[in-house]
């Protein structure tokens, strides 16, 4: 009869291992979802700041129409694809970032604009929002890396396959301009 107990013990151990692996996968997937929500919050914050910025710059540099329009267009496009997947969204947001940094480079040439209190406050907000986008993307990608590793390595890949845990997409910047200058400079 002793072998029955051995079998029972093995079954119990395997069951425990399965449950803990499953819970680990769920926890990591939830972290990915939370991180994604955080990116979303910061990107929306940037959409809200841009009209203000465009208005303020327009008051001092109205003949930079092309640059201003490019930013507005990129923002509207980004807002339209707001429900798309991480890969596509990252591309559009990268374009918005580079349009923004062009606008802020243009603003350099206007000393009156740079002395404007409203512009200075917007500058701190926009710098910080760019940073927050960067950091939330960083946290998201770290979370995705950990989650994807878990779905691919043995033995948790078996559990992942059984319960349909799929690998998640990274949020990667594809725009060359943004990769070169991830920070917005106002100086």
């Amino acid at each position: 009869m002793w072998w029955i107990w051995v079998v029972i013990a093995i079954v119990v151990i395997i069951a425990f291992a399965l449950v803990s692996i499953y819970n680990g996968l769920v926890r990591k997937r939830n972290q990915v979802k939370n991180a994604w929500a955080q990116i979303d919050v910061q990107l929306k914050r940037r959409y809200d700041l841009i009209p203000n910025l465009v208005e303020t710059v327009k008051g001092y540099a109205s003949h930079e129409r092309e640059t201003l329009e490019a930013v507005t267009q990129a923002r509207n496009l980004a807002q339209q694809v707001a429900n798309a997947g991480a890969g596509e969204r990252a591309k559009v947001e990268g374009e918005l970032s580079s349009a923004l940094s062009r606008l802020l480079a243009v603003a350099e040439a206007y000393p009156d604009l740079k002395a404007n209190q409203n512009f200075l406050a917007l500058q701190e907000e926009l710098t910080s929002t760019e940073n927050k986008i960067g950091f939330s993307r960083q946290f998201y990608n770290d979370s995705v890396l950990r989650y994807n590793n878990q779905t691919q390595v043995f033995p948790s890949n078996i559990v992942a396959g059984m319960f349909g845990f799929k690998a998640e997409e990274f949020f990667e910047t594809t725009s060359e301009v943004e990769r070169e200058a991830p920070k917005v400079s106002f100086s």
Binding site: R27, Q31, N34, A35, Q38, Q42, A121, E124, E125, T127, S128, N131, K132, F135, S136, Q138, F139, D142, S143, L145, R146, N149, P182, K183, S185, F186, S187
Partner: protein, 397 residues
């Protein structure tokens, strides 16, 4: 992050268990001496510890903050600091942004407190805000949030209470022993056996607080390295923290609000002496020069790369738990942010900025006169108007 917390718990668990054992030993010694029963003494020691624990936790998380003239700030008080804390909260993935306090003290320092990550607070001194640029401040804040995320704040709170209990018991126990002399209640052990017992108990009472303090400091030093590693991971820019540590350690002013129990909470040891090789066992913090050296020789931002840099500098085994390193692969560093070396971001401007916050927090009223002078009116003033000392304009209050 989870792997790291778990590894931390195991390592720190050992040290806390050691301290707990010391506490019980002290109880044994006292009980044996006074009541002739070791168990009763140990029980009393544990009860004293539990009471101190309850008192500390029921007083809330603000003991540290109430000690040091700390002012809680909102976003509009100091937008840059608020934004940096928010950025680092995002980077570290903490569930909730900690409260922010500014301490009115010219010595640059910072600490984190709070039992749980969702009830945490960070405090920075006005001197720190004045000295550091954006990248450096970010490094320091990331280090403090690292303490919160790694559950160090809770651990150090438990450790410091245990240390306090051992010190108090041993101190009063040995006092009473000395002055009550032969008037022992215990009659079960007599003759030479009693004398040996007395000596053993006395030695234990003298050694226990020292041993407990060393353990507490060892615990603290390990946490500092790990928080440094977390800072590099969150900011992807170890140079920020390195240069902040350089500036902070170059300062000669001593923090007024610090004491022995709270010292491990600060980013840099508030009691350090100039020129002292602080690598010995009695320091709460690792030597700052070594911390800077490790940060500067990092080739990437991950824990694995911090560990490699540490081995290279110290030539010993690493400080980061192995299970943590496997989790995350190599991570590239970033460049210095451009606003950090901006000409407008000067020390004078930063000093004014934080000065304004503190005047406001102390309920001073600020009046900008048209001649360019700035008047600070203290709270509770009786007069209905003030005269500008420079141009003589009278301002209504």
């Amino acid at each position: 992050m989870w792997e790291q917390i778990r590894a931390n718990r195991i390592r720190s668990g050992f040290i806390v268990v050691f301290m707990g054992a010391l506490l019980v030993f002290v109880g044994f010694a006292l009980g044996l001496y006074f009541f002739g029963s070791a168990e009763a003494g140990a029980l009393i020691a544990i009860v004293v510890w539990a009471i101190m624990m309850l008192v500390a936790f029921s007083q809330g998380d603000n003991i540290l903050l109430s000690l040091g003239k700390a002012h809680k700030i909102k976003k509009e008080d100091h937008p840059r600091l608020h934004n940096i804390v928010e950025e680092m909260t995002i980077a570290s993935g903490l569930p909730k942004m900690p409260d922010i306090y500014i301490i009115d003290d010219p010595a640059p320092n910072a600490f984190a407190t709070g039992r749980k990550p969702d009830k945490a607070a960070v405090a920075v001194t006005s001197g720190l805000l004045q000295k550091l640029n954006r990248d450096e401040l970010q490094g320091v804040i990331a280090h403090e949030l690292g303490h919160i995320g790694n559950r160090d704040t809770m651990l150090m709170a438990i450790g410091s209470i245990m240390l306090g209990t051992i010190v108090i018991l041993a101190y009063y126990g040995s006092r009473v022993m000395f002055f009550s002399g032969g008037n022992r209640r215990s009659s079960s052990s007599g003759g030479s056996g009693g004398a040996i017992l007395l000596i053993v108990a006395l030695v234990l009472l003298i050694l226990a607080p020292i041993a407990a303090r060393l353990l507490y400091f060892a615990l603290s030093r390990k946490r500092e390295y790990l928080a440094d590693a977390s800072s590099a991971l969150y900011t992807r820019y170890p140079e920020g923290l390195a240069s902040a540590l350089e500036k902070i350690s170059g300062s000669r002013t001593q923090l007024k609000a610090a004491n022995n129990a709270t010292a491990p909470m600060y980013i840099i040891n508030p009691f350090r002496k100039k020129g002292m090789a602080a690598s010995d066992l009695t320091s709460t913090h690792p030597p700052t020069s070594k911390r800077i050296q490790v940060l500067r020789s990092m080739s990437g931002a991950s824990f694995g790369e911090y560990d490699a840099a540490f081995k290279q500098v110290a030539g010993k085994r690493g400080v980061v738990p192995a299970s943590t390193m496997a989790a995350v692969a190599a991570m590239p560093l970033r460049e210095a942010s451009e606003e950090a070396d901006k000409a407008a971001d000067t020390e004078v401007k930063r000093a004014r900025e934080v000065g304004d916050v503190l005047w406001r927090k102390n309920q001073y009223r600020t009046i900008d006169c048209q001649c360019g002078a700035r008047l600070r009116v203290p709270p509770g003033i009786k007069a209905s108007n003030v005269r500008c000392p420079r141009c003589g304009t009278v301002h209504q209050l």
